[in-house]
């Protein structure tokens, strides 16, 4: 049996550095777990001469990816360089050379996961990607192994740390979106171009990966409907708070009779919901299984060492599989064909905030429009506005179909008594399931 496994690393940024540190520090523990040593044999970097936060022998560094991929002594390729097109090519080439692959690349897996998985199986190789969703939280194992026997009906994830940090600060400290974003950027919690985070695209990629696994269905990234949180205002948070809700950017995935819906959108959670107390940059995924009921996985969504923990745990599984000679066997093709719910099959509760004329009969007109579309109210809040002649109305509806909501929204702005539709958010928890 082999006495050492050689790892080639593509990338030595924040996460790559964490991987090297963990492998260096934990040699003894890793050896105990897998019965052989694990060594870094070669590392792809952009600049060989850069100062680094970790002690790597300079002779291991290369700027040529194929010095890693083609090295016959390298058994496992760990990809932590990011990017999609080029990286896809490297991983395909590595798999075709029968190298095991561990990656943290959510963009790549969201877009090309099914293709890469198939190539891995065809070549008898493992392809693991625990670190691609929710950094240090072992949610992918949770879905594919721990809850493997259950039928997952619903998942809700706080899977983007940047937006959770921003929303937590806005809620707890009453600060405006712009100023919290700036603070997050200064602290390094948000990118200088925050679009992918705040517009929900990053969360959408992770939800595509999770829902594919949870529902055993080939969900594509385009199937995820996305709405960001950059328009959330202090007013929204204030009225939500009065009604007992906390705002989170929620990745939502549900399936019924093997028809799925997946979305990312700002959502008011009832304060008693387990996700409502997940704060700051933390991530959590709430899973509702037919048999198990409610479970939740919580932890750091990013960071060098948390993400490296998931990568090295995947690496250990790969090495165990190598020693048992069973690589490439644990992957399953999706069980169900991809079917998405239509708008009249998607049911939800919504929070709607309006400015209306403060005059007699306004409420009757509103009520009529909603009830004509079979939507009833769970909560109503009406408050005077400083602006003369206007009132603030917040409505939380009972569950109704998205098709009906769309009808109402199309007509709402046309009602003469409605001055403005200020905001509309999904509501989860509290009352009916």
């Amino acid at each position: 049996m082999r006495e050492n496994v050689n790892v080639g690393l593509l990338g030595l940024g924040t996460v790559g550095t964490g991987v090297v540190k963990m492998i260096q520090r934990q040699q003894e523990q890793l050896f105990h777990q897998v019965g052989c040593s694990v060594s870094i044999k070669k590392v792809l970097v952009k600049n060989v001469d850069k100062e680094r936060d970790v002690d790597v022998d300079r002779s291991l560094l290369t700027t040529d990816p194929y010095e890693v991929i083609n090295d016959p002594e390298i058994d496992v390729v760990v990809e932590v360089m990011g990017g999609v097109e080029e990286t896809r090519r490297y991983i395909i080439d590595a798999l075709q050379l029968k190298k095991q692959v561990v990656t943290a690349n959510k963009d790549l897996i969201a877009l090309h996961g099914s293709e890469l998985q198939k190539i891995a199986v065809d070549n008898g190789c493992d392809l693991f990607y625990e670190a691609s969703v929710a950094g240090g939280v072992p949610i992918i194992r949770g879905l594919t192994e721990g809850l493997a026997s259950d039928k997952i009906q619903k998942m809700m994830g706080i899977v983007n740390g940047t937006t959770n940090y921003i929303l937590t600060k806005m809620s707890k400290e009453g600060l405006a979106y712009d100023s919290v974003l700036k603070e997050a950027q200064d602290l390094g919690f948000a990118e200088s171009d925050p679009t992918s985070d705040v517009e929900g695209l990053d969360a959408a990629r992770k939800m595509a990966i999770l829902s594919r696994l949870a529902f055993s269905m080939d969900i594509e990234l385009d199937d995820v409907s996305v709405r960001g949180m950059s328009n959330v205002t202090q007013e929204d948070l204030k009225y939500g708070n009065m009604l007992g809700y906390t705002m989170k950017l929620i990745g939502y995935a549900e399936q019924e009779d093997n028809r799925a819906e997946v979305s990312v959108q700002p959502t008011f959670l009832d304060n008693s919901h387990p996700l409502a107390s997940v704060n700051n940059e933390y991530n959590a995924v709430y899973v509702y299984g037919e048999a198990v009921g409610e479970t939740m996985f919580y932890g750091p969504g990013a960071g060098s060492l948390p993400t490296a923990t998931s990568i090295v745990s995947d690496l250990l599984t790969v090495v165990k599989n190598m020693r048992l000679g069973v690589n490439g066997r644990s992957v399953l093709a999706p069980q169900f064909s991809r079917q998405l719910k239509s708008a009249d099959e998607r049911y939800a509760k919504y929070f709607i905030r309006l400015h209306v004329l403060d005059e007699v009969g306004v409420f009757a007109g509103l009520t009529q429009l909603f009830s004509d579309n079979s939507i009833s109210f769970e909560k109503i809040l009406q408050l005077p506005l400083d602006e003369k002649g206007l009132a603030e109305i917040v409505i939380v509806t009972h569950r109704a179909s998205l098709a009906n909501y769309e009808n109402v929204l199309a007509k709402l702005s046309d009602l003469p008594v409605v001055n403005a539709v200020k905001s509309l958010y999904l509501v989860e928890g509290g009352g009916q399931k």
Copy 2:
């Protein structure tokens, strides 16, 4: 390759019934995951004629355990009968007949886990027990696989649903222990003899299992120091609440330089701690890893189908291993010899509630005793008592060694100004780690 795996079930109570239901309902899904069918071949019951909540062919039932264990066509024995001595014998016999074993039996694993694990490995068999801790929560996989690459430094678990239900009701509804216990018994959440739950013994068994795995050390049940929650009063909860704490029965396990401490005791958690919002009968295990930082696994701690989910997930792993021919390979002997911290190595913060004489100089005397033992105060609350001449004092200390606390406690009652030491609880979270 085999086309069917036969399961023998020892026990058909609440959990056994759940296992049968899940295997019946999910045949197609199970087949998809493991590539062969899974059948129940024989079931040990106490009474063949009993009415049951599940449809099992009467010809499968037997009252003789060895009709299950000795059946050469049975591949996997699933033990859900409970009990220790007899059950240990059955499992040893099954393993020696090269049968794979899945069990939900925390008492057995806490007491004889190491012995059984060794016998399993010697016979090339799997022995899995995910369901023995926190029912439907895949915490054991989380520790042994998801966080396998990390060094776990600390774990805190709400691992007993009955006591969490009682404490939640006491905290939120202001009810006394006795009346909540009675209500829980009426609802079936508490046993008619609740000793094992409320005195912390059930939680201690689970913490022995978890700390053994997390620290890779042969922790024994006797190593767990245990204090129950039956003495917790409304007064304690009230003053804790004033200081920003929530009371939970916490299983606590920590290691430093491979020296461990494991305990179960009523604990005041800072309200911002992720475990503080785990309510009712839910379980959760908070894990602090050197690399990953804070993670938490949350879900139902008991119940027929949640527990069955863990058992059937274990069963699927066993069947996958059978098809790959790698049973009995995933188990590790502990890496570290068992070493426990002494009282002067165990550091903690404590909440101490006293009744003292309401006179000049009392506080000076108290302060002197604590500072003589190197214990300083983080929070102090003093309130007048209805009872004439007495005052209520609540002190939350900074971290200090258990040895020093024991010194203080031994002398506290002897101070002439101290009328009574009303309560003493561990405090976690808020301020220093």
